[in-house]
């Protein structure tokens, strides 16, 4: 099994010649020991893609809201295109050459996506104050203890 770890972040390149941004997605594999994987000199992290940057939206008018939805949908389409090669390989396995001279039947599996909060907001299309992991609504966050006490009282 080959777990694929991906990471991404939007990056401002310049503010002067037209707000240029880059949006790289990197990938590495979980089969490498973490001391090697996380060492910058080992070149274990490959650039997987440069995502399209949607145009800047000025005000939150109704048309822009629609545009936001379209952007989120197109981003989804882009990811589906990028990860399409994994569709068959994850189920059936792909013979991959390994450096010890053996061929192994590998199942590349999506494992983790490393991103910060704003990146998660863009990727998942959630509100910026919502949690990307759990289903707790934004206003309910950090109320865990009070809720359990209520349930005890009841």
């Amino acid at each position: 099994m080959v777990p694929i770890i991906r990471m991404s972040d939007q990056r401002n390149l310049t503010n002067f010649s037209g707000d240029k941004k880059a949006w790289p997605v990197y990938m590495t594999i979980g089969n490498l020991l973490l001391t090697i994987r996380n060492r910058p000199g080992s070149m274990a992290i490959r650039l997987l893609g440069l995502l399209p940057i949607p145009p800047k939206l000025a005000t939150s008018s109704r048309a822009d809201k629609l545009q936001r939805l379209i952007n989120a949908d197109t981003l989804r389409g882009v990811f589906e295109l990028i990860f399409a090669p994994l569709n068959g390989a994850a189920r059936e396995g792909a013979p991959i050459d390994c450096p010890d001279g053996k061929i192994r039947r590998c199942f590349p599996i999506m494992s983790r996506w490393i991103a910060d909060q704003m990146e998660n907001v863009t990727l998942h299309g959630i509100k910026s104050n919502a949690c990307p992991k759990s289903e707790v609504p934004p206003e309910e966050r950090a109320k865990h203890f009070s809720r359990t006490r209520e349930s005890f009282d009841a």
Binding site: N31, P54, P55, E92, I96, D97, G101, K102
Partner: protein
């Protein structure tokens, strides 16, 4: 209080330097050492280690600040040098970190990570790498000169000028112009066909935006193909336990997640874009 190395008589003032020395010069004793450091058997050893930690000095990771007899200095540094090359072993890699407990018991998932065949021409490839590590460049000098040109961002015309002026010895370098150097650089990475860029276009209703991506499966092939990672790759899940049967979670392949996915029926594997 300087500590004398029990194995070679070297004197060390700092605990960090002594530790590094132990790990580099006496790598084969690693298993013994990491267990003794965690459970010091005698009071002598305990005193020694507490004394060392009391000396409120910044711990250096270099092995260079040892104090030894002036006469034995050069001889011992020569003795250390060849041993340093021996320390890279996949098993000792884990043991080097003292905070990481030694796995006493291992449990493997049966059948996972088994090889299904041999890579064609793998032996030839390894032999070529051993015979000429500078391939496709002819020599070390050619490689170093080329990388200096690239890293210092010398322009192509200046490189051509440099060659045509005949400065330096060009017989052993293996290229005679920027053009031939570029051709060689194109073959520098033998697996570069795996990481070709693809271009896509996205229409968002108003405009078409280009974006670039690589085949993710080929990226996986590329990473798994690197001979440099040969000793640092794991292919299967493994459960690690210490002496008291406690699970050790240290690497990704010792996690529960890997095992859970490994035992999933294959029909349940799905690709989630994010």
């Amino acid at each position: 209080m300087p500590v004398k190395c029990a194995f070679c008589g070297q004197r060390y003032e700092r605990a960090g330097a002594y530790e590094t020395h132990l790990r580099s010069a006496h790598a084969n004793l690693d298993i013994v050492l990491s267990s003794t450091i965690r459970n010091p058997p005698a009071d002598v050893l305990t005193h020694r280690w507490t004394d060392l930690s009391d000396a409120n000095e910044p711990i250096e990771l270099s092995d260079s600040d040892y104090e030894s007899d002036p006469a034995g200095d050069t001889a011992s540094s020569e003795r250390d040098a060849p041993d340093n090359t021996l320390r890279r072993e996949p098993e000792t890699e884990v043991l080097e970190d003292n905070t990481y407990p030694v796995a006493a018991e291992l449990e493997d998932y049966p059948g996972a990570g088994e090889a299904s065949g041999e890579v064609k021409d793998h032996k030839e490839e390894c032999r070529d790498v051993c015979e000429n590590p500078w391939a496709p460049l002819a020599s070390a000098q050619g490689f170093k000169l080329g990388s200096w040109f690239i890293e210092s961002k010398v322009s192509k015309t200046r490189i051509n000028d440099y060659v045509s002026n005949g400065i330096g010895n060009w017989t052993s370098v293996g290229y005679s112009s920027m053009h031939t150097l570029e051709n060689l650089l194109r073959h520098l990475d033998p697996y570069s066909p795996y990481v070709q860029w693809l271009e896509g276009h996205m229409e968002d209703g108003q405009r078409t935006l280009p974006f670039f991506y690589r085949n993710v499966l080929d990226c996986v092939r590329y990473l798994l193909r690197q001979i440099a990672y040969r000793d640092d790759l794991v292919y299967a899940h493994r459960r690690e336990y210490d002496q008291s049967r406690q699970r050790i979670y240290a690497e990704m392949h010792t996690s529960d997640w890997w095992w859970d996915v490994q035992v999933l029926p294959r029909s349940l594997f799905y690709v989630k874009a994010y």
